[in-house]
């Protein structure tokens, strides 16, 4: 009977081993499964670039680099130049930064350095809600509130004070570059505020304490010590906001005025890359027309990728430095 008992033992040991290997296989399986899904993200992003590149081939071959410098956009004559859209995109985004950055940085300094923690937390919560408002809602509100406001009050006021500048000449219909830039400024505000606030809060406490101990006021500490320390991260948040503004579609489409010409006046209607795609793509007849719009999407993709990558780099650098010191 001894032999059966050892057989039994062997069987038990074999089973246990099988269990262990099976569980190890489980580890392997979990790794492979998550690896596959994680890799899918890279595949999707690669496919995204590939599809844009492939589908814009016709336009790239037909126009070459002239596509980027051409100023005429005439679908009837099959002449496609992207410059008016690039101009509109850059001008509205620049306006957004000019209006939004001081406001956003000011608010984030207040929330991170000067406000009592309870108020700061409550405001940060509301700012996060503001970031959740969809772009089409901003557009809806802008059409019916900001457009008449710009037409009837802001544009006449600017014209009577700064009208000697070519930027503020000509009639205003309410829709145009200025209105689009203003909406964008409001839309990027929550991004600048929440990221800058976080970057400022990551600055080590010793920096503040040292400054305050030397007799500096709260504001002096914030402005001369904390902000310089977090500078790269704040600039990163601005670039991230810029990337948002460049790619923002719906709100801009609804108020920019849809005029594919380069106008120097900010009151004049304009057009952005995202807006022209949104308006014309679904109804674009013909291969070349569609390829030209897809090439615009490719241009927009490349611009935002570059701006984004730069922004991430800056943010990583500051938060690393801040945590390394603490």
């Amino acid at each position: 009977m001894a032999s059966t008992s050892t057989d039994q033992d062997r069987l038990t040991i074999r089973r246990a081993r099988a269990d262990v290997t099976r569980f190890r296989h489980g580890d392997r399986l979990a790794y492979l499964l998550t690896f596959a899904f994680a890799s899918a993200i890279i595949v999707i992003t690669g496919l995204l670039f590939f599809e844009l590149y492939k589908s814009s081939a016709l336009a790239r071959q037909t126009f070459g680099l002239n596509f980027l410098t051409g100023t005429t956009w005439d679908p009837v004559a099959l002449e496609f130049g992207a410059l008016p859209f690039i101009y509109g995109t850059l001008i509205t985004s620049a306006l957004a930064l000019i209006l939004g950055v001081p406001l956003g940085i000011g608010a984030s300094i207040f929330l991170a350095e000067l406000a009592p923690p309870k108020i700061s937390d409550a405001f940060a919560f509301l700012i996060e809600l503001l970031a959740a408002v969809p772009s089409v809602i901003y557009g809806l509100l802008a059409i019916f509130t900001l457009v008449p406001l710009v037409r009837d009050f802001i544009a006449p006021a600017l014209q009577s004070t700064l009208g000697f500048l070519p930027l503020f000449q000509g009639p205003s219909y309410g829709v145009g570059l200025l209105t689009a830039g203003t909406v964008l400024a409001i839309m990027i505000l929550p991004f600048i505020i929440s990221i800058s606030r976080e970057v400022l809060l990551a600055v080590p406490r010793e920096q503040r304490e040292a400054s305050l101990a030397l007799g500096a006021t709260r504001w002096e500490t914030a402005f001369h010590v904390v902000v310089p320390y977090a500078k790269a991260g704040i600039i990163g948040s601005i670039f991230l906001a810029l990337a948002r503004a460049l790619g923002e579609t719906m709100a801009v489409t609804m108020v920019i005025g849809n005029d594919p010409r380069i106008n120097w006046s900010l009151f004049a209607p304009g057009y952005s890359i995202a807006a022209v795609i949104a308006n014309e793509f679904a109804e674009a007849p013909g291969e070349l027309y569609r390829a030209a719009l897809i090439e615009l999407a490719l241009v927009l993709f490349c611009i935002t990728i570059i701006v984004n990558a730069f922004a991430r780099l800056l943010i990583v650098v500051t938060t690393r430095r801040a945590t390394a010191h603490s």
Binding site: I41, K54, A107, F223, F281, I305
Partner: protein, 282 residues
């Protein structure tokens, strides 16, 4: 002469006020948006909005019933794409993400997050609409699903990393293998955070318009199945807001109010849950 000390103190107070006003302006924008939508949308909202189809041009009345169902269907499809990739991708980054490949995935996720939504729309047009030769619910849902991925990945990763290492070690010390520890201890501990993260993600794509314009397109009627163009709340708001008809503007306000209410309710409740979660664990 004003002393240097007085001037510095005065600057302190002035700048406190100025930056405080900046913060107030930002917050008041939110209250303006909410207040204006409740005022305009509240007037236009009625029962028909939820139960009836859009009326033909020139006829007043009608509702957005098809757009409400359409948005729900698109979000369902988006979750089917975005949640598995986002969740499992996040698990990979949290548990095995130290490698060079992990770095590449993390970086690509950030890139994808920065891609303008209109570009995602073009991508899905080229990938799905063009081969199928027509707009479809499928294409719109996949577009929204791809938009969901980056946030789902990053929030899953963050919440998994927030699980204390002692829990992991305790499970491993009891003889659990890595995946057993993951499935029975680590993921359940992070589950509440992960689910709220996905809720926030859904609320975000629920308002996306641009990726739907040439994938799901729009539809004035019901859209059975997954193979036809379909109406959605954001696209209807866009179409109605830029139309010249006063009655349509009213409907756009009503739709805006409904959409924003859903998004705000989701956001507030998710963030309150998260807050309690983080406060409780400290």
């Amino acid at each position: 002469m004003i002393s240097r000390k007085t001037r510095r103190k005065a600057t302190n107070i002035v700048m406190f006020t100025v930056t405080g006003i900046c913060a107030l302006v930002a917050v008041s924008v939110l209250f303006f948006i909410l207040g204006y939508l409740v005022w305009q949308g509240g007037r236009a909202l009625n029962w028909d909005f939820f139960t009836r189809l859009p009326t033909p041009v020139g006829e007043t009345g009608g509702g957005f019933a098809n757009a409400i169902v359409g948005s729900a269907k698109l979000l369902l499809l988006a979750s089917l794409i975005g949640v598995p990739i986002g969740f499992l991708g996040g698990v990979y980054l949290a548990e095995f993400g130290g490698s060079a490949w992990g770095f590449a995935v993390r970086y690509t996720t950030d890139l994808l997050n920065g891609v303008p939504s209109i570009v995602i729309g073009i991508f899905m047009y080229a990938l799905i609409v063009l081969p199928m030769k027509h707009f479809s619910t499928l294409a719109g849902g996949v577009a929204l699903g791809v938009m969901m991925i980056p946030i789902a990945v990053r929030s899953t990763e963050e919440f998994l990393r927030a699980v204390p290492n002692s829990l992991r070690e305790a499970a491993l010390a009891l003889g659990a293998t890595k995946w057993q520890a993951l499935v029975t201890v680590v993921i359940p501990a992070a589950m509440r955070g992960i689910i709220t993260g996905i809720m926030l993600d859904l609320a975000r794509v629920a308002g996306e318009t641009a990726p739907l314009l040439f994938t799901a397109f729009s539809n004035r009627f019901w859209s059975p199945g997954w193979n036809q163009p379909i109406a959605s709340l954001p696209v209807m708001i866009f179409n109605y807001a830029i139309s010249p008809y006063e009655d349509w503007h009213q409907q756009a306000w009503a739709a805006g109010l409904v959409l924003l209410s859903l998004i705000m309710i989701t956001n507030v409740s998710a963030r309150l849950i998260l807050r309690r979660h983080t406060h409780g664990s400290h």
